[in-house]
């Protein structure tokens, strides 16, 4: 099995050649991928915001942003700058400490979860063994931040929005985790790298979506609910709650919520592509391709090509899903809170349990196709 490009190895080798110790080289390496991922997450958000504006405009037969850069491509930057220079207002009788910590607690777990998103064999920050479980654990911290900001705003709409957000996020986490569990059962590993590798044995036919169609739909619905996207954006339902827990926020603190929401959307789309759509896998396997052009798989050129194809594929799949999410947002009506909780507890939870059981029995019956 080829190991692909190992940037860390080459970096530490290079630094060690400059006469530094191994540990120091490692210490120098650690912040680099983090910074890279942080930057790429923010750029991903900018792209998504632009897409959202353009697609919503198309759905409503408008033109959308037009003057900021070609096709309005700089509009998200302008939005960000506007939020940056706005006055930071803390309501007079709000609890200023909790009011400030709330948005941070919402944003940090989402960014931390990027730790496990693989763009290639070695193109991820850390191949931790508990992989996807880490994401589930981290995303359970978010409700605390939401409750905190809802409570500290000293506003009934904020409190209601915060409570709704926490209730929604708790109820949809369970079917989400069960859908992930079915995948984990099939690939015998929690690590995202292993999950993708197990899907890339026979091109796109071995993607998990064919073996887990129900799980895919459950996961996607739950991911949308966790991101508070429109069919499920009850925490900030404008007609009822002004803007939910964000009502009292302005300036950069509001921007943190905004960022967290979009980073979470991109992250969810990336994880769907990792779990169900073969991650960095190209529909045609790289081995076959390299034999076609007559170069060995270890050739640096082939390796670089494979790496970039991997990154492009992951992002392409993720953004197809983001497109779907945006289209859903601008074309579907909002569900009511009782419908939302009914859907979560009475429909998705039993279905995902049945899905888990069926997967387990299929795994016993056909160990070849369902990962023995």
């Amino acid at each position: 099995m080829n190991s692909g490009i190992d940037l860390e190895m080459s970096f530490t080798q290079g630094v060690q050649n400059l006469g530094l110790s191994h540990e120091l080289a490692h210490l120098l390496w650690i912040p680099l991928p983090m910074l890279l991922v942080l930057v790429s997450a923010v750029i991903g958000v900018l792209v998504t915001v632009w897409l959202e504006r353009k697609i919503s405009a198309a759905a409503q037969q408008r033109i959308g942003p037009e003057y900021a850069g070609a096709l309005g491509i700089l509009q998200p930057m302008a939005d960000g700058l506007k939020l940056l220079v706005k006055e930071d207002i803390i309501p007079a009788r709000a609890d200023s400490v909790l009011f400030t910590v709330g948005p941070i607690l919402v944003l940090v777990p989402v960014i931390l979860s990027w730790l496990i998103v693989p763009f290639g064999q070695n193109l991820l920050i850390s191949n931790v063994g508990i992989g996807i479980f880490l994401w589930i654990a981290l995303s359970s911290i978010q409700p605390i931040g939401l409750l905190m900001s809802g409570y500290s705003s000293n506003n009934k709409y904020s409190l209601l929005g915060g409570l709704r957000a926490a209730a929604q996020s708790i109820s949809y986490e369970i079917p989400l985790a069960l859908a992930v569990l079915a995948i984990v059962m099939m690939s015998n590993s929690l690590s995202t790298v292993d999950i993708v590798e197990q899907q890339n044995t026979a091109g796109f036919l071995s993607w998990n979506i064919w073996r887990q169609p129900v799980g895919f739909i459950i996961f996607w619905i739950c991911a949308l609910a966790e991101c508070e996207r429109l069919p499920f954006d009850l925490p900030e339902a404008e007609e009822e709650l002004v803007a939910g827990y964000q009502t009292e926020y302005a300036g950069m603190k509001f921007a943190l919520f905004y960022l967290a929401g979009y980073i979470n959307l991109v992250l969810s789309a990336l994880l769907v592509s990792v779990l169900y759509l073969g991650g960095w896998g190209f529909p045609i396997s790289i081995d076959w391709f390299s034999s076609l052009i007559g170069l060995s798989i270890d050739n640096p050129l082939v390796q670089i090509m494979a790496g970039s194809i991997g990154i492009v594929m992951t992002i392409l799949k993720a953004y197809l899903l983001v497109f779907l999410a945006i289209l859903l947002r601008w074309t579907t009506p909002r569900v009511r809170i009782d419908q939302l909780l009914d859907l979560g507890w009475k429909f998705l939870l039993p279905i995902s349990l049945v899905n888990l059981l069926v997967t387990a029995s299929l795994k016993l019956a056909f160990p070849m196709t369902f990962g023995g």
């Binding site: 540990e23 063994g129 880490l134 409570l163 926490a166």
Partner: protein, 200 residues
């Protein structure tokens, strides 16, 4: 002393400081909402300690269960019933505080004594790192199967109990409810849209 060791030491010191000061604040703060949020912080710091011990699965489970479920439920309970009322002054509060403080201090001294007297074999068993997840699963389904099942039955009982408590339906005939509503909303009071004075 190499870099890895010193980072570990610094992390350990910070985490323990957070845990100790945080749990003291949970107990001593007057504002119950602060206590609940700080409890979440303490749970996360404990998860950090597990991470330092190379037990990443246990750390993630700690966050998922304690922060994501237990603490959020506590917060829910506080926020749904957060009535700001003046409590009656309790008689002899000072002596009560002294007694409970004494009991806690005694417990602390006992624990300290145990931890000093015990012969810890150092260094402890080496951690198995990433394999831990599989090992935990193995143990749960072989020699710890009975406690595991008993725990799940306990949780099921608690769940059924909660449902029974929450669904105490008072059986009122349906027609009755409708009639009452109609009377209240339509018949009795007629509130004029404009007051008498403004018409004149």
């Amino acid at each position: 002393m190499n870099i890895a060791y010193s980072t570990e030491l610094i992390c350990f010191l910070i985490l323990s400081a957070v845990i100790i000061s945080g749990s003291l604040a949970v107990v001593l703060l007057e504002n119950i909402v602060y206590s609940a949020f700080l409890l979440g912080g303490v749970f996360m710091a404990v998860a950090g300690l597990y991470l330092l011990l190379n037990a990443s699965f246990v750390a993630a489970a700690q966050i998922l269960v304690y922060v994501g479920a237990v603490n959020v439920l506590i917060l829910f309970a506080i926020m749904l019933v957060n009535k700001k009322e003046k409590l009656k002054p309790i008689e002899g509060l000072r002596t009560r505080k002294l007694i409970s403080g004494g009991v806690c201090g005694g417990l602390l001294i006992l624990l300290l004594r145990v931890s000093i007297i015990t012969q810890w074999n150092l260094p402890g068993p080496s951690s198995i790192g990433e394999e831990a997840t599989e090992r935990i699963g193995e143990h749960l389904f072989t020699d710890y199967l009975l406690p595991f099942e008993l725990a799940s039955i306990l949780l099921l009982m608690a769940m059924i109990g909660a449902i029974v408590l929450a669904r105490r339906d008072v059986s009122i005939p349906r027609d009755d409810i409708n009639n009452n509503n109609n009377k209240k909303s339509l018949s009795d009071k007629k509130i004029p849209l404009l007051s008498e004075n403004s018409l004149k």
